[in-house]
């Protein structure tokens, strides 16, 4: 237990001390939230864009930590031999993985608190009965973390870095985060089978009206949450 606690603390501290990670996990989501709430250029279909942006940005927060930050850091730890070295300590791989998951959740809590506070400052009023949003965020965390680890465990660290950042941009654009899925035209059908769009599809009704999301969003999220950790477990190479 002592070692798990120490490892979680170390993982959280390293995440929060990495400038480029903070930029992706808090800086960019906060900037998007503030900028597009005040500069009303997006086709959000409302005179109050923060109502559309806040749920999407809270989804982006999960993606940035579970996919981008976790994936890139793990890829570099693998290439630096850190994972290999830790394999020869009593910490062991299951506890290392557990520490990483707890650290991701801890960072996500910080993100949600910061971003939700900014959104509320901009006039956002989330629906109080938004419990399903937490479930969606957790499912998405599993799906994105699985994807990030699957990439980190099989690609070279530099390629993994580039790909994770590229995915961040693409999923930001077609994930229903800044542009409503309805405005995506031909991209929408493709976007809807990806976890980012499914997450924002789940977050918009729950946080907006306290309504249950459609079945499609849950099914897509659940499939990704089963498949990506499985692929990661089967393909991960520790060195």
């Amino acid at each position: 237990m002592t070692m798990l606690r120490a490892q979680v603390a170390a993982e959280v501290r390293m995440t929060l001390e990495r400038g480029e990670t903070l930029l992706v996990t808090i800086g960019i989501p906060a900037f998007l939230l503030v900028f597009f709430s005040l500069v009303k250029v997006l086709p959000t279909g409302t005179s109050h864009p923060v109502d559309f942006l806040a749920p999407g940005v809270l989804g982006l927060a999960v993606m940035s930590t579970a996919l981008v930050s976790l994936g890139i850091a793990t890829g570099f730890e693998r290439s630096f031999g850190v994972l290999k070295r830790l394999g020869a300590t009593p910490l062991g791989r299951p506890r290392l993985l557990a520490a990483k998951i707890v650290a991701v959740l801890a960072v996500e809590i910080v993100q949600v608190l910061v971003l939700a506070a900014i959104a509320v400052g901009l006039g956002w009023r989330p629906h109080p009965a938004a419990g399903l949003a937490v479930v969606a965020e957790l499912l998405a965390t599993i799906a994105f973390a699985g994807l990030g680890l699957a990439m980190a465990g099989s690609l070279r660290a530099e390629i993994n870095l580039a790909l994770a950042n590229a995915l961040y941009i693409v999923l930001l654009l077609i994930g229903g985060i800044v542009f409503p899925l309805a405005k995506l035209g031909g991209f929408a059908a493709f976007a809807r089978v990806l976890p980012a769009a499914a997450l924002s599809d789940a977050l918009h009704p729950t946080l907006g009206q306290g309504a249950a999301p459609g079945a499609e969003a849950w099914i897509v999220l659940a499939i990704w949450a089963v498949v990506t950790p499985l692929v990661a477990a089967l393909t991960f190479r520790w060195e």
Binding site: G81, K84, T89, L91
Partner: protein, 301 residues
């Protein structure tokens, strides 16, 4: 019971045989050095003992356990220095030592280890900004923080400066006295002569020779000397009544049992021929010479 036991180990990666029938052991309190050129199979052998890969055939035992199946029970008694890396680049020596200390039940004090390995001045410098020698000394400190009974040290003195080397040597000596079994690999043969009780020289996955560093080459104690400039070995041999051979450029060996008289005759002969003696030593072949001879012979055959 030996702490480390390797019997007829064979490790193949597809068609490529990296280790081909290696056997040796290491007793508690003993330092054994695994020597060989790059690609000889040293790291593969060590990684098999660390449990990172399984033998293709043969057997390895660490503290009586199979390193792969017994991994969970072994890790608390294991100290490892990887060939490079293994540490979070952003973490300072003090931080990573405290983190590693938390993995063990009865760890050594991080501050004490920082002192022993002369890392106090860089205790809060991130790993990535340490010199190669400092990184290697930190890796050794991390290997020792859990009070291991068995240590695998892959090139623990690589890039370490002379003062750091003394610190490393003292720390390894102290572990030996505490009964730790240590298997190390190194390319610095003079360092190995000082550190290791026994050496195992391997190349192309096979053991070429094994034994104490000063005996591993076999042969007898002989007079060895160096003279810069041309030397008529036949004439000197006739004068000494012994064969004189040039072992390496300007380095010679007198093929007769050494005695004070023989040394006096040698120096007298050199004096009459106005030849300056650059080095004079009585003993067996140096480890470095044995190593180069064996590895070269292997490459030639």
């Amino acid at each position: 019971m030996p702490a480390i036991e390797v019997q007829d180990l064979r490790v193949a990666f597809g068609d490529r045989v990296a280790v081909d029938g290696v056997s040796f052991d290491v007793q508690p309190g003993e330092v054994v050095a695994l020597l060989g050129p790059n690609g000889a199979g040293k790291t593969t052998t060590v990684e098999t003992l660390e449990g990172y890969r399984s033998p293709t055939s043969g057997s390895v035992r660490v503290l009586g356990l199979d390193p792969v199946r017994g991994h969970g029970r072994l890790v608390k008694d294991l100290g490892v220095v990887l060939q490079r890396g293994g540490v979070y680049p952003v973490m300072s020596p003090a931080r990573v030592l405290r983190l590693f200390a938390s993995y063990y039940e009865r760890p050594r004090s991080p501050d004490e280890l920082l002192g022993l390995l002369a890392l106090e001045d860089v205790a809060s410098t991130p790993f990535k900004r340490l010199s190669g020698g400092e990184q290697q000394r930190l890796a050794l400190a991390l290997a020792l923080v859990g009070r291991p009974r068995v240590c695998f040290l892959d090139e623990p003195t690589a890039g370490v400066d002379p003062a750091g080397r003394i610190a490393v040597r003292d720390v390894i000596d102290a572990c030996r006295h505490d009964g730790v079994a240590i298997l190390l690999t190194s390319h610095e043969l003079d360092e190995v002569e000082r550190l290791a009780e026994r050496v195992v020289i391997i190349d192309h996955g096979k053991v070429l020779a094994a034994g104490p560093p000063d005996e591993v080459g076999g042969g007898e104690e002989e007079i060895r000397f160096r003279v810069d400039g041309p030397l008529d070995t036949a004439a000197l041999g006739a004068a000494l009544n012994a064969a004189v051979a040039e072992e390496a450029p300007s380095s010679y060996r007198v093929g007769a049992p050494p005695s004070p008289g023989l040394v006096a005759e040698l120096t007298a002969w050199l004096a009459t021929h106005d030849l300056v003696l650059a080095d004079l030593r009585i003993g067996r072949e140096r480890l470095e010479d044995v190593f180069l001879r064996l590895v070269k012979t292997e490459a030639d055959s």
